[in-house]
Each structure stands twice: as C-alpha cells, then as structure tokens.
C-alpha cells in the first residue's frame, strides 16, 4: 500500500480570529482525481493554499509527500504543480519567456510536452502576456502547472475562462495525468459536469467545513430523490430514515435521502403504505439539494 501524497488532519485556518476553514481531514492517494466543490466563500481556495503550504494552518496540519506542507523541502516542491484561480503571469513577457522563467526552476521540465500542448492548445508563444485574452492566459497558466510533470497537480478553478473545445483539451490532459496511476490531481471547479467526468473522489465544502467527502460513485448511488405515492393521506411527520429534506402534499411526498440502498425499498414502501419511485440525481442536483 502506497502512503498518501496528501494527508490533512483537523486542518483549520482563521484570519484574525475569524475562521475560514475548520476541522478538515482527508487523504489523497496516488492516482486520485479529487473534485472540490463548494459555493463561493466555502473555503476552497483556502483549503488548496493550505495544501500548497502558501499559508500556515492555525489548527491541525497537512502533509505533502510526508512533509509538513508549510515547511516543504525544495525537492518535494518540485513535485507539485499549481494553477491558481488568478494567473500570476508577468504582463511584459512573451509566452515563451514566461515559460523560460518558470522552467528554469525545474530540473525536470518537459520541453517536448509544453511545446506539443502549446501547439495543440493554440497558445501563441511569441505573444506578450498583456495582449493575451483571458482564455489564452488561462491556457498558458495551465501549461506552466503541467510542464514539470508534477506528481501532485492542484488547480483552482482552472477552466472558468475556457471555451468548450479548450475545456475538453484540458480534460484530456488531466486524464493523461490520471492514467499514469502514480500522479494525483486536486481541482476545484464550478463546472460540475467536468467534475462529474473526471473525479473519482469528491469533497464538498459547506460553511467552511468538509460537508461530504468520499468516492464519487458512492455519492451518486447513495443520495437519491424518493417519490412516495399513497392511496391515503401521508402522515404530517414522515418517518424516512436519513432524509435531508421531506416535502409532503396530501398523498404524495418527495424526499432527498442520504445513504440510500435498494434493499431499503420494500420495507419503507410497506411502512409508508405507498408506492416508491427512486430517482437518481446528477452531481449538480446533489450539490443544490445539499445547499437547500
């Protein structure tokens, strides 16, 4: 069993006594692709910055490759790639010069990969950063995060400004990283359909805490919308186990149920004296339901 690349325990961060993230624990194993979801202000960026060691934790800690991420040795830093939400490109440089500056920090920079991707992604290397569109800047920023073939790639809203074609090209590149099996990706995104395609693990941050985390397939299997139809009026207080919400209207009720499994169906149908219909939810619907 490989040891996890990232391990956080009781991680928390406060700014002047005001908590922005509290009591978060998780691990990221080699090969994991983690999708981080949360409303604006839920703490996604803070979480990623803590993992990267850009800021010290005020509670608990996070280890990257077995080291305290805030005191990461240089060799371990070279194994991490980061694509920030706001790019940190230098306006005066051309794309080629920008790549040159960043690549000089990394002994194992892959010129071939960056050259090929900049062609495929139509990034004009002669253009100055200040003349680039937002999408072009984002592509360049992603190239800079990928160029040294990091073992852990962390991306904060990497595709917000990309068109659908560029987004798909980006996704393919992440798949290439994941197909390696020994590299991990952690990415936050509001584009739920991308998370749906790529992630094998999901973290949902809510109110500065880890609200749900786990295997994506089990999330989709376990949270369902349940429709109950009875011939008689349903009781005002419906006893539905693990219901996140219940709406009742006479003989019909709808509930969002967490931890659902098909073997609960018959028992509950008898108990409610109702016909049940189970509707599976998309990730977007799950996300919305969890935020009601």
């Amino acid at each position: 069993m490989n040891s996890p690349y990232i391990a956080a325990h009781g991680l928390g961060k406060s700014f002047s006594g005001k908590p922005v993230l509290a009591d978060v624990s998780f691990t990221v194993e080699p090969g994991d692709v983690v999708g981080v979801l949360g409303k604006n202000g839920a703490g996604k960026t803070t979480l990623l910055e803590l993992v990267l060691g850009f800021t010290p934790a005020t509670a608990g800690g996070v280890q990257l490759f077995g080291y305290d991420s805030y005191r990461l040795p240089g060799a371990a830093k070279a194994r991490v790639g980061f694509v920030p939400q706001q790019d940190e490109l230098v306006n005066q440089l051309t794309a080629a010069d920008q790549i040159g500056v960043i690549s000089s920090f990394y002994p194992k920079w892959d010129d071939t990969l960056v050259g090929r991707l900049s062609q495929e992604w139509e990034v004009d290397l002669t253009q100055r950063v200040k003349n680039m569109s937002v999408g072009q800047r984002q592509k360049l920023s992603i190239l800079l995060g990928l160029g040294h073939r990091p073992d852990v790639l962390i991306l904060d809203e990497p595709v917000a400004s990309l068109d659908p074609v560029a987004r798909r090209q980006f996704l393919e590149q992440i798949i290439e990283v994941a197909a390696d099996g020994n590299r991990s990706v952690v990415f936050s995104s509001h584009i739920v359909s991308d998370v749906e395609r790529l992630a094998n693990k999901i973290w949902i941050l809510k109110d500065r805490r880890m609200f749900w985390q786990g295997d994506f397939d089990s999330l989709k299997d376990s949270i369902v919308r349940l429709h109950a139809r009875s011939t008689r009026p349903l009781p005002a207080s419906l006893e539905i186990p693990n219901a996140l919400s219940v709406q009742r209207d006479g003989t019909i009720a709808t509930a969002i149920v967490q931890g659902w499994s098909p073997d609960m169906h018959d028992g509950l149908a008898r108990q409610l004296d109702a016909e049940l219909e189970i509707e599976q939810l998309t990730l977007e619907e799950i996300f919305l339901e969890l935020h009601r």
Binding site: G31, V33, R168, L171, E172, I175, E176, A178, A179, G181, S193, E196, R197, L198, A199, N200, F216, D217, K220, D221, E279, Q280, L281, T282, L283, E284, E285
Partner: protein, 150 residues
Amino acid sequence: MVHYFTNAVGRCRRLFILKPHSGMPIYRQLLEQIRRMAASGQLPPGTELPSIRELALKHAINPMTVSKVYTLLEAEGVLERNRGKPMTIATPERTQAPLANRLEQLEPHVEQVALAAQQLELTEKDVVKALHNAWEKNDEQPVHRRTRPR
C-alpha cells in the same frame, strides 16, 4: 459521445453511450452496457476491448472508472484479462455466474423440496439419497450445455 471498436477480426463495430451528466454513475453505465452486450452476444467472445487509457480519453472520463469496470467484469467472468494484450469478452464457459448467484437461483427449488420432505416426515438423509438418485439419473441422459443466442 460514442466509442467504436473492432473485434479480433476487425469486423464488428460496437459503441458505448456514456452520459456523465446522468444520475447513474458512469461506472454503472459502462458496466451494464458491456454486460448486456456480452450477454446478448452483440459482443461475441474474444472481442477486444479498448485499453483503459483509450476509453478514458475517448469519453473524457477518469481512467480509474474504466479500470474499476474492467476489474468488476473480470471478477464476474464477463471479461478476460490477457497478459500484455487487450481485455477480451470471455468465452461462454467462463461467463458462468458466481457460485453465490447460482445457489441463489436454486434456493426456491430447494425450499420447496425441504418443505415437501418435512410435510411427508422424511429425514434429511432420505432427501439427500433421493437427490443423489435423481442426480445420477440425470447424468445418464445427454446433457445439453447452455447455448448462447446467436
């Protein structure tokens, strides 16, 4: 998004239809499609499946999802892993359901026999003996192996 691939002789073209933005997890969509196509004979034994990487890239889905499906189907006996070669649809002998599933199918019949035997006040030994005789008798007759639909 469809995915075409060819079998060993390059004749049949098949496709998967995966909808990531659906309530059903992607792994289950793929799992059930391969299972169905193998069961119906649409994917005949020996059909080569795309590599994990190839399928993941084609559909823009996580390679682990594909890997999980292949592993589950291999355990079920639907797929065969071949060293250094693509996974293939297993030959019918190998597509036998796991023991637990087959026993489950037998259960109602056994319950019937047990119930009848108790009502007739037969002993367990009597029943085992009767079952043994029936088994032997069946064995003398030519056995038709389950054939797959064309």
